[in-house]
């Protein structure tokens, strides 16, 4: 799968049906339709938000929550994953609890966090961090567990300090795994960010989207959906790129 992607991935020709569909929609759609407003009306639908200076701050809020949440999740996931993976007993002791927590759907945490922590930005962060941590933690744990013993003995032979062992051996060896986890976690974090915003209506793109739906501004809903799609696409593109670039550089170590 991976090799195929490097050979150029999916052909752009494949966008044809989507373009045709949107074109057809544009031509036959009724601008006043409450369900399927044609694409040209989407921009007009967004206009009130742009004029009211609401769209950019909303995107900013969403981006901030997403980035902060993903960063915290990366650090927590990498550190805890490495520690849990390093010791068999700790792994055995914690895994049932971790498995159960992981099985809780993020969606069900939203109302809980809203009730316990209130409708705040911290609440948003907690809800984003928790589910985004799992993929990173799990890949990191597995990578640490399967790390070649030679790699761990080398610094001991060389008499490296604990600090150098971490920075020079562990970090480079585990980075690809962490990035793989981040690649899975990033789209998830974006989805959860939007989800919290839609459900709790606390700032951000999701809140605007929810409000537009509640007031039946269908053209605006589709416009916002498109923006969310572009965000999703960007996030995917960036993480995939970063992951391939780094794992190519590190090919020797793993």
């Amino acid at each position: 799968m991976k090799r195929e992607k490097e050979r150029g991935g999916t052909p752009v020709r494949g966008l044809l049906p989507l373009i045709l569909l949107l074109g057809l929609w544009e031509l036959t759609g009724d601008p006043a339709s409450p369900y399927f407003p044609p694409p040209s009306t989407w921009v007009d639908g967004l206009r009130p938000l742009v004029d009211g200076d609401k769209l950019l701050p909303a995107i900013g809020q969403t981006a901030l929550t997403f980035l902060l949440g993903l960063s915290i999740a990366t650090v927590v996931g990498a550190v805890v994953g490495t520690l849990v993976g390093a010791s068999r007993p700790i792994d055995r002791a914690l895994s049932p609890s971790l498995e159960f927590l992981r099985a809780l759907p993020a969606a069900s945490l939203v109302p809980v966090a809203a009730l316990v922590l209130g409708y705040t930005t911290q609440m948003k962060l907690v809800v984003v961090v928790l589910p985004a941590t799992w993929p990173i933690l799990l890949t990191c744990r597995t990578a640490r567990r399967t790390l070649s013993p030679v790699l761990l003995d080398t610094p001991r032979t060389l008499g490296l300090s604990r600090w150098h062992r971490t920075t020079k051996i562990l970090t480079p060896a585990l980075t690809p795994a962490v990035l793989l986890g981040v690649r899975v976690a990033a789209p998830l974090a974006l989805i959860i960010t939007l989800l919290v915003e839609i459900v709790t209506r606390v700032d951000g793109l999701g809140a605007v989207l929810g409000a537009a739906q509640a007031s039946f501004l269908s053209a605006q809903v589709y416009g916002l959906l498109t923006i969310a799609g572009v965000l999703g696409f960007l996030v995917n593109w960036v993480v995939t790129r970063a992951e391939t670039a780094v794992s190519r550089r590190m090919r020797g170590t793993t």
Partner: protein, 255 residues
């Protein structure tokens, strides 16, 4: 396959619950609406006693499973066509990838707009969410190893026989993975649709108990949701193991 019971793990789990109980009782963890585990147990009892829980669970399961089953049919069929017929793949895969980039939750308000506050909204959302993993896994599952196809040619199998005896069995493990992923996302998205759209089922129960300031019952609902997810996943795995014994083992999915 006999697995040893992880006593240590279970002990830690129980210990964590006890610690939580103590911290709440002693007000070290001082949130107004954070219930202790015993309060959650009581909440569970209350929800069971007044029948709310089973009704909501039934509704959510119905919506999630209908959407998932529909997605299974459409996803496996469409995925097979996309995986087997090269031109179709060339001329539509990029569109599908563009659509897939749309965060699924952002689609929920659109579904509410289109289908109103109804169970259709839930089923549509569950369907849409589950469709992607099932379809994409089917597509990559259909990429059979050339050597297998060559042996089909050597044995002079007909096209139908190649599809039935080589391609489908080869794709089974991938399809099952897709179905599992699909089931868990369809459950999650059904809950979201219930929170945002249709006021019914477990998703709404959560929101409702939150607004009624019943944290015990609310956490109980979360617990039930978590257990439901685990049970459903286990059922799919068990069913797949029973139905496709050899095919699952061949790709290491059995582990």
């Amino acid at each position: 396959m006999a697995r040893r019971v992880n006593l240590l793990g279970a002990a830690v789990f129980v210990l964590a619950l006890v610690l939580w109980e103590l911290l709440v009782r002693t007000s070290v963890l001082d949130f107004t609406y954070l219930p202790a585990p015993t309060a959650v147990g009581e909440g569970l009892g209350e929800l069971l006693a007044n029948g709310e829980l089973l009704g909501a669970l039934g509704h959510t399961l119905f919506a999630a499973l209908s959407g998932w089953a529909l997605a299974g049919l459409v996803g496996v069929a469409a995925g097979s066509v996309l995986g087997l017929v090269r031109p179709v793949w060339t001329y539509s895969m990029a569109s599908l990838e563009a659509l897939r980039a749309l965060p699924i939750v952002a689609f929920v308000p659109v579904a509410v707009l289109l289908f109103g506050f109804s169970v259709q909204t839930e089923i549509m959302v569950a369907f849409y969410a589950a469709l992607w993993p099932i379809m994409l896994n089917t597509i990559s599952g259909m990429r059979t190893e050339p050597r297998m196809l060559e042996s089909g040619a050597v044995l002079r199998l007909s096209k139908a026989a190649v599809l039935w005896k080589i391609r489908l069995p080869g794709a089974t493990a991938m399809i099952v993975v897709g179905l599992r992923l699909g089931l868990s996302v369809s459950l999650v998205l059904t809950l979201v649709a219930e929170m945002v759209g249709n006021p019914a089922g477990l998703g709404f129960l959560l929101v409702e108990k939150g607004q009624a300031l019943q944290p015990g019952q609310m956490f109980a609902a979360v617990f039930v949701i978590g257990v439901t997810g685990i049970v459903l996943n286990g059922l799919v795995m068990g069913a797949a193991r029973l139905a496709f014994r050899g095919q699952m083992a061949s790709s290491g999915e059995a582990a």
